[in-house]
């Protein structure tokens, strides 16, 4: 039963990968390419590029692609449910329980320790991400300006994304047009 297999594979991926989309990708590769052989490695690389290029969660985007490629509409339903359901149920259970425990002094103390660590876990990966985005002193203006506008200016991050896409497309269009004339 193909749909059940799709659902089961993604349920496994959704249950056993901690740390978000990028961690899930390596497990998806092992399950979908190496074990099941549903798609080959080249198509997998294309899929990653697409899943990152499209908006939304990378893990969900990849689930949609594989589901569609292997099983059409029903495949998509199977993979997306499989990818989302474990998180949904686990977080729901935690949210229900956490409400009644969060005011205990011991729990509060633990979270006082965790909060600065969480900020570090957001800030520290920036070094690696900046390196892989091939950042230079000149292009560093973009993230720095964006961060300041959101932080001090209270601008919505949506605007930063929107302006980035529109300006880049317009600029590329103008440059391409000029190149053709010459």
């Amino acid at each position: 039963m193909l749909y059940l297999q799709l659902f089961w594979t993604y349920l496994k991926i959704g249950t056993f990968t901690i740390g978000g989309g990028y961690v899930m990708l390596s497990m998806i590769e092992r399950e979908i390419v190496d074990r099941k052989g549903w798609i080959d490695r080249e198509e997998f690389m294309n899929m990653i590029a697409l899943a990152q290029a499209a908006p939304g969660l990378i893990a969900v985007n990849s689930a949609i692609f594989i589901g569609w490629r292997i099983g059409g509409w029903r495949g998509v339903i199977a993979t997306v449910l499989g990818a989302v359901l474990p998180s949904f149920l686990i977080i729901l259970a935690i949210a229900m329980v956490f409400q009644s425990y969060k005011d205990l002094p011991a729990v509060e103390a633990v979270f006082k320790g965790i909060r600065p660590a969480v900020v570090a876990l957001i800030a520290a990966p920036l070094c690696r991400m900046a390196a892989s985005a091939k950042i230079t002193w000149a292009t560093a203006i973009i993230p720095i300006a964006g961060a300041l506008l959101i932080w001090l200016g209270g601008l919505s991050p949506v605007w930063i994304i929107f302006v980035t896409v529109v300006v880049t497309l317009l600029y590329t269009y103008i440059v391409e047009k000029r190149n053709k004339k010459v």
Binding site: V60, V84, A133, A145
Partner: protein, 199 residues
């Protein structure tokens, strides 16, 4: 109407969320702040919990925010569905034309330029998320309450980036650091430290 707010906000987050969980976190942060859905403490705690539980961080956040703002399962279901809808629409459209464009899109200059610039702006989004947690404008930080907070922050930062500085992958120190720099372990260690410092 909280349900409509939730739905529209997470629809927007799904539509403009590029670059993975941490970048999406910045979008969620903005919505939460704008509508005053929860306290800053609650919000940081959600991120901590999202990082130590399985699954995509965006789904974890959506489910949690949906539950805490409405107090029931329907809020969770609504927020989680809303964040997935834009993906469904856009990815399915891409999949339908995928066999026409195959891998050519990766050499298209419009595509490569936009992706490159988006990766840069996403860095700004993540930086802003960290700065807003460190020092929110016009109010005290809940994440940094005393000197110990800064020590925990510095140690976590150091352990996270340490593996970057060891080039040789066969180095046993590198494998040790790789294990130590795992977010789950770091959060657990910070929790233990918090327990001994603050209780």
């Amino acid at each position: 109407m909280i349900y409509l707010q939730l739905f529209l906000s997470f629809l927007k987050i799904g539509l403009f969320g590029f670059g993975g969980g941490l970048a999406i976190f910045s979008l969620i942060q903005h919505e939460v702040e704008q509508y005053g859905w929860m306290t800053q403490e609650e919000f940081v705690d959600i991120l901590a919990i999202s990082q130590v539980t399985p699954g995509p961080i965006g789904i974890n956040c959506a489910t949690y925010v949906g539950y805490t703002t409405t107090g029931n399962i329907w809020g969770s279901l609504l927020a989680t569905t809303a964040i997935v809808i834009p993906s469904l629409v856009i990815m399915l459209s891409i999949c339908k034309v995928y066999f026409v464009i195959s891998s050519r899109f990766q050499r298209n200059i419009y595509f490569t330029r936009t992706m490159h610039m988006l990766r840069l702006s996403v860095l700004g989004l993540i930086g802003a998320a960290a700065l807003l947690l460190m020092k929110p404008v016009g109010q005290p930080s809940v994440s940094f309450i005393d000197g110990s907070s800064w020590i925990i922050f510095a140690v976590t930062c150091l352990l996270t980036i340490a593996p970057m500085f060891i080039k040789k992958s066969a180095n046993p120190l590198k494998s040790a650091l790789n294990i130590l720099s795992h977010p789950i372990l770091l959060i657990i260690m910070a929790g233990v430290a918090g327990y001994f410092i603050y209780s």
